[in-house]
């Protein structure tokens, strides 16, 4: 039995007809019916759906700086268990990933862990302070080869800085990923602004604070003809603006998180900060618009916004709690759960939104490729009929801030191959 060579028997690529998949030396060598196992290790996959592994364009790995919440190693374990082969690590670390030195460090730590490809995202502005451009070119030219830039956690609010960032990254085909949040309209904001925030006496985060920035930025992107990506779209109005922008020919892409597809602001009424996230959980109407936008392609991708926080950051009163929730290990199940009744949604569309489209936006050329002969063997097997109970303490993440604890998600990632390495077997790390 040669190393990293397997025959996956009886899987259903994209949930379609049953096929055997032969992996040899990190590549897909053959796809067909009744393939001879020869001397390969056989992986029995009857009833399993096979997809290209997922790509997460929005992950917080917390290293360097907050290794108590997550490390590149622990985040990589969470990612592979969730079915991902690549994650883009956000820049809001300490120190901020605003120089070639920091992004190279993150990139190297990712390589050393070796469970997924970790692509660092560079900060747009020095120290995320929104005032001066960070060394975008140096980060792009570094070993990390940064293509995505974001001040995520902060909005690039200054329209002139945003314009220049959009223009500047054209030199190396980069993209600016905007955290769309007008800081003036969201001072002290704690939850979605609406009837419930009024009743609970919480300072509201109005939809317009997101939509106004998106409207401005799609116009800027059109004006300078550059690539813009919108992080964690959360409102029906944002979907409508992005739909309009795409019709106008703006080179804009957008992501939605699993939690904004599934959860609504109603969870806030119990004051448990595990539901505190930025942008906040929105109304039922917003989740429905997001699902529709994702299905019709207005929203290009699913991105987790995986945001680990230590226990004490959530075990407190709402106002003092940190924003953010875990996402990597639950992403697939949550997306399937949220999208199951949406028309025109199937394993092909899911695969596009979670794999090929995010890889394309992030220029991760070796990821998000179709299941086809000659491609890298990044693939995930899913049991579409086997639900699993989410237990916070059992997650690979160092943190436990999942809003899905106690929930049974409808499908399970059972096996994951990364570059042909059989990395997750029967839902557990295969080491």
């Amino acid at each position: 039995m040669s190393l990293n060579s397997y025959l996956i028997e009886g899987a259903r690529p994209y949930g379609e007809d049953v096929q055997d998949i032969r992996i040899i030396g990190g590549r897909i060598a053959e796809i067909g019916i009744g393939l001879d196992p020869e001397n390969l290790g056989v992986v029995r996959a009857e009833g399993r759906v096979a997809l290209p592994s997922f790509v997460d364009l929005h992950t917080h790995l917390r290293e360097p700086g907050r290794e108590d919440a997550e490390t590149i190693a622990s985040g990589s374990r969470a990612a592979t268990l969730g079915g991902f082969s690549a994650v883009f690590a956000m820049a809001n670390t300490a120190p901020v990933a605003d120089t070639a030195g920091v992004v190279e460090q993150v990139w190297r730590l990712g390589r050393e862990t070796g469970l997924v490809d970790v692509f660092p995202i560079g900060a747009v502005s020095v120290g995320l302070n929104g005032q001066a451009l960070a060394e975008l070119g140096a980060m792009a030219a570094s070993a990390a080869g940064v293509t995505v830039f974001s001040d995520d956690g902060h909005c690039v609010f200054d329209p002139l800085l945003m314009r220049r960032a959009l223009e500047y990254v054209k030199t190396f085909d980069g993209v600016i990923a905007q955290h769309a949040q007008d800081p003036r309209l969201t001072q002290g904001a704690q939850m979605n602004e609406g009837e419930l925030s009024g009743i609970l006496g919480m300072t509201g985060w109005p939809a317009v604070a997101e939509e106004a920035i998106i409207a401005r930025d799609v116009l800027l992107a059109l004006h300078v003809d550059s690539r813009l990506h919108i992080c964690h779209v959360s409102t029906a109005g944002s979907v409508a603006i992005i739909r309009w922008a795409k019709e106008m020919g703006v080179r804009v892409t957008a992501e939605v998180t699993p939690h904004h597809l599934l959860l609504t602001e109603d969870f806030v009424s119990g004051f448990d900060p595990v539901y505190k996230v930025n942008p906040p959980l929105r109304s039922r109407a917003d989740t429905l618009a997001l699902r529709e936008g994702l299905a019709d392609g207005t929203i290009d991708i699913i991105a987790t916004d995986h945001a680990p926080h230590p226990h004490e950051a959530k075990d407190c009163e709402w106002d003092s709690a940190a924003f953010g929730m875990l996402g990597l290990e639950t992403a697939l199940g949550v997306v399937v759960s949220a999208m199951q009744d949406v028309p025109d949604w199937n394993w092909r569309t899911l695969s596009d939104r979670m794999s090929s489209a995010p890889a394309r936006i992030g220029r991760a050329t070796n990821h998000g490729r179709p299941l086809a002969v000659g491609e890298s063997a990044h693939l995930v097997l899913i049991d579409p009929d086997q639900g699993h109970l989410v237990v916070a303490e059992q997650l690979a993440s160092l943190s436990g801030n999942t809003p899905y604890a106690g929930m049974t998600l409808p499908v399970s990632v059972t096996d994951v191959f990364f570059n042909g390495i059989y990395q997750v077997k029967d839902g557990a790390l295969n080491v």
Binding site: G198, D315, S320
Partner: protein, 312 residues
């Protein structure tokens, strides 16, 4: 009932039960009994994360009058800025065997967290959580309204109550609007749109931007305090303009029905939301609200942590 966090958890029967219990306490204390042995041996902790001399003293007096052991714990600053976290404080108080925590906190939901996060076993009484709720204030106000407008009634049907001013930042307004709704009163909320919460049109109340239009129909008018930090010109142009548009002065008070009462949860900004003349007029029940708040707090403490009323 173990905790009192929000008036929205109360039924009409619960509410009337609390008000009737308060009447009993009022009768007993009016009769000259200074101390009731009801909560002897029980420990009530007043946990105050905000300066509030009035509310703190009211709760302290209420607990002492019921013979409870009273501990006051003033914790300034949030758990993040400095000092001990809310959870650690809760664990400490639980270890001390507190039977009841009366909590005032700047974060909405803090009382709910104390009651339900699994940190302690004590009863929790919300003495104001951010902009969320202040249930004993609303119960005291209901006691005052009932005494003046419908003694002994089991609902407030037919009464029209105006609540005027900064509803957005007011836990007192929230608790009052919802409690009066539970009691079946007709509530009219009046204020500038900048000081009314988004979505208030779906609350159990009418919403209006004109005080003058509603004065003749009100059986009671509650003026809300305009906080100093709202007067910096971003919520309304000036104190004077606010006072001209939404302040209760003599001229406006004259347009109220003769029987109508004037209320204010205090502390007042005389000359801003209410003139001194009106605040000190015979129809003002503002000081009664203070004593009724005290009586209602006795009733709530008694109902939450038991004790034997018959010894009273």
């Amino acid at each position: 009932m173990k905790h009192l966090i929000s008036v929205q958890e109360l039924s009409r029967e619960d509410t009337v039960g609390i008000l009737d219990t308060a009447i009993e306490f009022n009768r007993v204390t009016d009769g000259g009994t200074k101390m009731l042995p009801t909560l002897r041996g029980r420990t009530v902790v007043n946990l105050f994360y905000e300066d509030s001399t009035r509310t703190r003293i009211s709760f302290e007096r209420a607990a002492k009058r019921l013979s409870a052991d009273v501990v006051t714990f003033s914790a300034k600053g949030s758990s993040v800025s400095k000092g001990e976290s809310l959870k650690d404080t809760a664990l400490t108080l639980n270890a001390m065997g507190a039977d009841m925590i009366v909590v005032r906190h700047p974060s909405p939901g803090a009382a709910h967290r104390l009651a339900h996060a699994g940190w302690l076993e004590s009863s929790v009484l919300n003495a104001g959580d951010g902009k969320h709720e202040h249930p004993t204030q609303a119960l005291g106000d209901a006691f005052t309204l009932r005494a003046h407008l419908c003694p002994g009634a089991t609902d407030f049907a037919g009464l029209t109550i105006g609540i005027v001013g900064d509803v957005l930042h007011s836990r007192v307004a929230r608790s009052n609007i919802f409690l009066l709704g539970i009691l079946g009163a007709n509530v009219v909320v009046i204020g500038p749109p900048t000081l009314l919460p988004v979505g208030i049109e779906n609350w159990p109340c009418q919403v209006s931007y004109s005080l003058d239009a509603h004065l003749p129909e009100l059986d009671a008018i509650m003026m809300l305090r305009v906080q100093q930090e709202r007067m910096n010109g971003t919520f309304f142009p000036s104190e004077l303009e606010y006072s001209r548009t939404f302040g209760l002065n003599r001229k406006r008070a004259k347009k109220l029905p003769e029987h109508a009462i004037v209320m204010h949860p205090g502390p007042m900004n005389r000359g801003v939301e209410i003139t001194a003349e009106v605040a000190d007029s015979p129809r003002s029940v503002i000081t009664e609200q203070v004593s009724n708040g005290f009586i209602v707090r006795m009733a709530c403490m008694y109902l939450l942590i038991g004790g034997d009323l018959s010894v009273a």
